[in-house]
């Protein structure tokens, strides 16, 4: 754990946005849990890949995502995640909220920079 305030701010931002980034990734196509985790890690959105799984399970309980088991070429069946209609609506709401939020923060940050 770092006491670095910059790292802390980033962690908080990640935490707030991660859930909706998962929804955004699933909006394109259904995904295998392992691939989803890999993509989020690659995008720099998660520090510990393992913490994505509890998040996915919570999204499933909240009926934002749903899972289906599919046969795989090698090994046991795999669990695929996809968006529910509720998840789609939640993502649409977040898109609006996020663009407003980003505009507000940008305005404040730019304002401070100019002074």
């Amino acid at each position: 754990m770092t006491a670095d305030p910059e790292g802390k701010a980033l962690a908080q931002l990640r935490r707030g946005a991660l859930e909706n980034c998962v929804l955004a990734l699933l909006a394109e196509d259904e995904r295998y849990g392992y691939d989803l985790v890999g993509e989020l890690a690659e995008a720099g959105l998660v520090a510990s890949e393992g913490t994505v799984y509890p998040l996915l399970s919570r999204l499933r309980k909240d009926d934002l995502v749903t899972t289906t088991w599919r046969e795989s070429d090698a090994g046991p069946p795999r669990r695929y995640y996809s968006l529910t209609p509720t998840g789609r609506r939640a993502l649409a709401d977040f898109r609006v909220a996020w663009s407003d939020f980003r505009a507000s923060v940008d305005r404040l940050l730019d304002g401070k920079a100019q002074q």
Partner: protein
Amino acid sequence: MMDTTHPLITDYLDRLRRAAVGLPETDARELAADIEEHFRAATDGRAISAAEVRTLIDRLGPPEDLVAAAAPPNTAPTTEPAAQPRREWEATTVAMLLAAEVLILTILLIPIGLVVWVIGLVFLARCRRWTSSQRLQAGLVLGSGVPVALLALVASGMATFRSVSQACSVDAAGVEHCTGAPSSGPAAWVPWILAALGIGYAVLQIVTARRLLAAVGEHGPRPKGLRLR
């Protein structure tokens, strides 16, 4: 075939299961199954080196972090309470104040009624989602129930005493003579007026209780949450 049986992986899964004992059983089982599947997908049935397994484990993060992420989010702010304010505290307060009043009227349970009343008043002082004027209103209309009930009991007790202390006899001429209290007692309509006042008071209490409960959170501090607009 390299599977999730690598000693480092087995060790990680054991640590995860031990760390997850505090979680609800289904959550703990699901988390372990998800991580096991993650390892299976990562190794994909091929042999991988100990170094690769270590990288996998490092990227997953410590089992304790995973369990913390799976724990119910009691500190995470949500916007739900703002939409549907929780009013258990206020409802309990109202129920206690009204129940105390009913307990007093049973006469036998007066001590319990008094205790419930005092606790109800303490609760009322802590109903922070009501404004101070709403709390005052609750105190005056609902909190006054116990004193009013006690007064009503004393009044009816006195009336009963007056009527029983009257001793009447009929003389040989058939004329009734009463002693102890004047025969011109309280007029017959007085009990009816008192009964009407009692019913009116009860209705006022119920209406006030409903209105105050509906107003919970309208003026009080909103629960903390991310407000974007």
